[in-house]
């Protein structure tokens, strides 16, 4: 067993069933490594992650007193956790182990150079050993966690998240900024690919949410303040008054009140300033549109009535926050494809509402004129090209694909064909991206339905113009059809439908409050699109649904459930466990200049404190681990190298670089 804190390093080189050993001479690697200081054992195994391989490592730790472990195997993302478990079972701190990727970054990329790959494996393993010499035992950061989550947004993603979290036994507070639940899904009619009625599904979900005893719901409410850290966020919510007492609700709806464009129908109709979003909405009590109410008395039940908005605030402590703030459909610019100038140019969301208002069994009309020919144009407000398309108000172009609109457009084409079989449909597309399971069928159905497809290029989009007086159709669509090698075509139509993309909502206040980030597409940014797809860089703040990017209802629900699973696993034990890779100050080296605080972008992550050193009161930097992201910005700023990221220190990096650069004899000298 080790004496006097002697370093005893175990080095393990995995064959990975031939994935590594077919290229790398693992035995030579093992033999070379054993010659370096403090390496006590150096072994190989056909599969280090197998029970036998792990048992071998455990036995070495117990019997040979190994107190640092270096394993060269597949990518750390695959088995780092496995081996942390291995060393922990043998009684060693899990952070006294270092994983070296020998497969993805060596054998699989150097199969034509076995000797070179073997030498590189030696260097990589040596670097592992060099780092292991500087590893310190670390403990995960454990924080008491409030078993309560805040869900921001009462659309389908927020509702789904809230319900999933509550079903796992946690309390949930759900806040919705608007007066009614349901979000964008309430404005849809049928969903693809199930064909299910959107509001029936939504209302089922709303009923489950409102009946769940662990969910508290606030409409017209928003987050206005946040402090604290994961497990213990102190939040302040502000809620607007509903403005209408339930007893005068019906009278208020029938009163003669000022009207404004109805956003539920995308401005196709008007509504009163005391309103319900749609029949059957929840809550059913009408709400006052405070933005459009000027404070003048309104005559309700024959009585002049002045309405007062008296917002109230309340504080909560929550362990985690789900951001489900949704999206907004792209609103074309004035004149874009004739939008706003030619009355027969509408957006796809507007057409969905128009068909809902039209009802079944009636012929399709627009502005009281019969519709016979319809053009559907894809990629409006999506896949824009910088330099070709003018930037939006924020100076950006929407260069992303909104993903959902291709299938949504084809779904609409098929619905139009089914309801109005005599319509002539023209589908003008850049690419057809029906990526989801079963979505391609909509394209096939549209082909069979004799929808005519015309293809344009991103930098050569169609042109929509008003027809000359006396023409048979009110609108003319001009396109260079790249299915017929760019042939210029003119399509006279009665209605042009713009398949508009998804836009991020303006949640800049929330971004500032929660300290989260938006990506280059301005949607909220996850920590990693594949490995941590719902987490943000702020521990305990997760994303759900279209706040993160374009998604179908199905995908939104899946993302919301993933967010709920993340929150539940985080708070379920009443204790949050975080990786210990956060900044740590060496109080001996720190001279309290506060340079680290100046560069730190995270609120309350570092502060100066008066401490007693050698009997003297001095100012020193102190890290609040729960607020530190571990980015290391403070490390490069400190003039004294007094601050480092635990587990990723500059000294460890320098040791690894020495292992790559120096001759073995020089390295041994450095190690000594």
């Amino acid at each position: 067993m080790p004496e006097n804190n002697e370093l005893r390093i175990g080095v393990y080189t995995c064959y990975c069933g031939g994935n590594i050993s077919d290229v790398v001479d693992c035995e030579r690697v093992a033999k070379t490594l054993i010659e370096f200081p403090n390496v006590v054992v150096s072994r190989t195994d056909m599969s280090m992650c197998s029970d036998a391989g792990q048992s071998m490592i455990e036995a070495d730790i117990r019997e040979k007193g190994i107190n640092r472990v270096v394993i060269g195997a597949c990518a750390p993302s695959l088995h780092e956790q496995t081996f942390r478990g291995t060393v922990t079972r043998a009684g060693l701190n899990p952070y006294l182990y270092h994983h070296v990727g020998l497969r993805e970054q060596d054998s699989w990329v150097h199969h034509c150079d076995c000797e070179g790959a073997t030498c590189k494996a030696m260097r990589l393993m040596l670097a592992g050993v060099a780092k292991a010499r500087h590893l310190d035992p670390l403990e995960p950061i454990r924080l008491a966690a409030e078993k309560h989550a805040l869900v921001i947004g009462g659309g389908v993603a927020g509702l789904r998240s809230a319900l999933d979290i509550a079903r796992r036994g946690l309390n949930v507070t759900l806040i919705e900024k608007s007066p009614f639940l349901g979000g964008r899904m309430a404005q849809l009619e049928t969903l693809f690919p199930t064909g299910e009625d959107a509001r029936t599904g939504l209302h089922g979900l709303i009923q489950k949410v409102i009946q769940h005893p662990k969910i508290t719901l606030f409409t017209q409410a928003q987050l206005v303040k946040m402090a604290g850290y994961v497990g213990d966020y102190q939040v302040t919510i502000e809620q607007q008054s509903r403005g209408v007492h339930v007893e005068i609700a019906e009278a208020a709806l029938t009163a003669n009140l000022p009207e404004v464009p109805d956003e539920f129908n995308y401005g196709l109709t008007r509504r009163k300033i005391i309103y319900r979003a749609y029949p059957g909405c929840y809550p059913s009590t009408p709400a006052v549109d405070w933005k459009n109410y000027n404070g003048e008395p309104l005559v309700i039940n024959g009585q002049p009535t002045v309405l007062y908005n008296e917002p109230k605030t309340f504080d909560l402590t929550v362990g985690a926050i789900v951001v489900a703030t949704g999206f907004k459909p792209y609103e074309p610019r004035q004149g874009e494809y004739g939008y706003g100038e030619i009355p027969e140019v509408v957006t796809l969301p507007q057409l969905i509402r128009h068909l809902a208002l039209l009802g079944d069994g009636k012929p399709l009309t627009w502005n009281d004129h019969p519709v016979r020919d319809v053009a559907l144009i894809h990629c409006v407000g999506s896949r824009e090209i910088e330099g070709v398309h003018p930037p939006h108000e924020d100076g950006e172009v929407n260069n992303y694909c909104s993903r959902v609109c291709c299938t949504a457009t084809l779904h609409m084409a098929n619905e139009l064909h089914e309801r109005f079989p005599h319509l002539n449909l023209y589908d003008l597309y850049e690419d057809i991206r029906t990526y989801g399971h079963g979505h391609e069928q909509y394209y096939r159905d549209a082909l069979e339905n004799t929808t005519r497809f015309l293809r344009f290029h991103g930098d050569d989009r169609p042109e929509v113009v008003a027809a000359e007086p006396g023409d048979t159709h009110p609108v003319l669509v001009r396109i260079n059809d790249h299915l017929t090698w760019g042939e210029a075509m003119e399509v006279p139509v009665d209605l042009v439908v713009l398949a508009v993309g998804f836009m991020p909502r303006d949640v800049s206040d929330l971004i500032k409050l929660l300290k989260i980030s938006a990506g280059t597409d301005r949607f909220l940014l996850e920590r990693h699109p594949k490995l941590q797809p719902v987490e943000t860089a702020v521990p305990g703040v997760v994303l759900a649904g279209t706040a993160q990017g374009p998604m179908t209802v199905q995908e939104s629900c899946a993302a919301a459930s993933a967010a709920a699973a993340k929150v539940s696993s985080l708070l379920g034990q009443g204790q949050v466990e975080l990786e210990p890779f956060v900044a740590k100050v060496d109080l001996e080296k720190c001279d309290g200049t506060g340079t680290c605080m100046e560069v730190c972008q995270y609120e309350d992550a570092i502060h100066l404190e008066t401490v007693l050193i050698a009997g003297q009161e001095v100012r020193r930097a102190v890290v609040t681990p729960a607020n530190c992201s571990g980015c290391g910005g403070c490390v490069s700023a400190c003039p004294n190298r007094a601050i480092d990221v635990q587990g990723w220190t500059l000294t460890q990096y320098e040791a690894m670089i020495d292992a790559f650069a120096l001759e073995p004899a020089e390295l041994v000298e450095v190690m000594a």
Binding site: T32, L33, E35, A75, P76, S77, G101, R103, E104, Q105, D106, W108, V109, H110, H111, C112, D113, E115, G116, C119, K120, R123, A127, K515, S517, G519, T520, L525, E526, R527, H528, P529, K530, L531, T536, A537, F581, V599, Q601, Y602, S629, G630, C631, G632, G633, V635, S636, A637, V645, W648, L650, Y653, E654, I657, F660, A661, L662, P664, A665, V668
Partner: protein
């Protein structure tokens, strides 16, 4: 003492962020695409942790080219990419002062699936180092000239 019988070639260090270049390098591996063996990849949380002296020391120890593969504007760390870029920009004049070709240090955005850009960056650095040779030799030659001048 053990020896490592590797071919004498300039060495490239790749500092790759876990949320970008490191996962990108794993993706390259999954494609079984070939690139030279004189490349050594280290995972980093965010390159904003490395001060200017870190890069200088790395060259002085015998690394000949450094590629910093970060996540660019997609970095989850607030202010991290900007700070990393600033530190690298501040390193260039210090490199010049030691006679080091500043092209030896490059910051580049590589995402988890950027396999082609990853390979392109490695190939370009490889080609550059073939032309300009070892960093240590460059430092020594410059120091020699300075001594002569003095």
């Amino acid at each position: 003492m053990a020896t490592i019988p590797e071919a004498q070639r300039p060495k490239i260090l790749i500092l790759a962020t876990l949320s970008g270049g490191y996962a990108g390098a794993d993706s390259v591996g999954q494609l079984h695409t070939d690139y030279p063996t004189n490349t050594y990849i280290l995972p980093v949380i965010c390159p904003c942790m490395f001060p200017e002296e870190f890069y200088l020391r790395t060259f002085e120890q015998g690394i000949d080219g450094i590629l910093v593969m970060y996540s660019g504007t997609d970095s989850p760390y607030r202010g991290g990419p900007e700070r990393a870029a600033k530190l690298i920009n501040q390193t260039y004049p210090l490199m010049k002062a030691r006679g080091l070709d500043t092209r030896r240090l490059k910051l580049t955005a590589i995402c988890t699936v950027c396999t082609k850009p990853f390979l392109k960056e490695v190939q370009q650095m490889e080609a550059l180092l073939e032309g300009i040779g070892y960093a240590k030799a460059e430092i020594a030659a410059y120091a020699g000239k300075e001594n002569m001048a003095n």
